[in-house]
């Protein structure tokens, strides 16, 4: 698995970059929300309308990926520090990766279906 052969410093570079990236996208995401009054922004029609905007969809997808990578790597770090048996370490690496892919896939499904409506 490629993640296993990455040096820890490379993983942390990714962690920081995805953190900064997430910051960037979340900022835009929130700006989008703030254009409209809070109550309205989350109405179904508005949301669906947003999903038809290609740029917004790309933004959402990237945000999804970045935050997932950042967040699940963070979780991996915490779990690694908890217990140090080879078994535990490989299990959590696999589980965290799987969960990450799962969340990304699930979110992507929403985005695809949402934008395809």
């Amino acid at each position: 698995m490629p993640l296993l052969t990455l040096r820890e410093s490379q993983i942390m570079k990714i962690h920081y970059l995805t953190g900064i990236g997430a910051l960037f996208f979340v900022a835009i995401h929130i700006l989008f929300r703030l254009i409209m009054p809070f109550g309205q922004s989350l109405e179904y029609e508005n949301v669906v309308a947003n999903y038809n905007n290609v740029y917004y969809v790309i933004l959402l997808e990237l945000m999804l990926i970045f935050i997932s990578i950042h967040g699940f790597n963070g979780l991996r770090v915490i779990l690694l520090e908890l217990k140090q048996t080879p078994w535990w370490e490989s299990i959590i690496t696999i589980l965290v990766l799987a969960a990450m892919i799962g969340v990304i896939a699930y979110g992507t499904r929403t985005i695809i279906i949402g934008s395809g409506l």
Partner: protein, 163 residues
């Protein structure tokens, strides 16, 4: 605490050391000891806590938005969950957490790249660690203060909206 012989090397030898000793590691309690060692320790602890909190929220959020595909009713029923007082408080926490985590995260990205810590030099008694300098401490305070402001602002918007 068992050491494999490879770890032990020759640093210290206790060939007949068949003594029972206690592991002594503090375990999770060691993490949850945020106040005794100064602000940096508080920051460490909050960054962790907010990180995990945000991750949980994020997963929930991805799940929440997925109701989009099931049509307007499903979406609205999801949305209602957040329109309660409890939901508002939860969202306030998320806002606070993300503000703190972001601001402090940016600070950490700098410090963990060795920026803003000062230079090593001959320490003079009484020793004050240069890395625990004012800049760093203010960074933490700023993150906490901003988080509180963001929470209050978010609360005002949400509760103001609901009434």
């Amino acid at each position: 605490m068992d050491l494999k012989s490879g770890d032990n090397d020759n640093s210290e030898i206790n060939p007949s050391g068949k003594v029972r000793i206690d592991d002594g590691r503090e375990g999770l309690k060691g993490w949850l000891n945020p106040t005794r060692y100064g602000w940096e320790r508080v920051s460490y602890w909050l960054q962790r806590l907010t990180g995990v909190g945000l991750l949980i929220y994020f997963i929930g959020h991805v799940y929440e938005t997925s109701s989009l595909v099931n049509g307007i009713d499903a979406w609205n029923s999801m949305l209602e969950l957040t329109q309660t007082t409890g939901g508002h408080i939860f969202l306030m926490l998320v806002i606070g957490a993300s503000t703190f985590h972001t601001v402090n995260g940016i600070r950490l990205i700098f410090t963990e790249s060795g920026i803003g810590l000062g230079k090593p030099g001959r320490p003079d008694y009484p020793y004050d660690a240069t890395s625990l300098n004012y800049k760093q401490k203010s960074g933490i305070w700023v993150a906490i203060i901003l988080a509180i402001i963001a929470m209050l602002y978010g609360g005002m918007v949400m509760f103001g909206d609901a009434s």
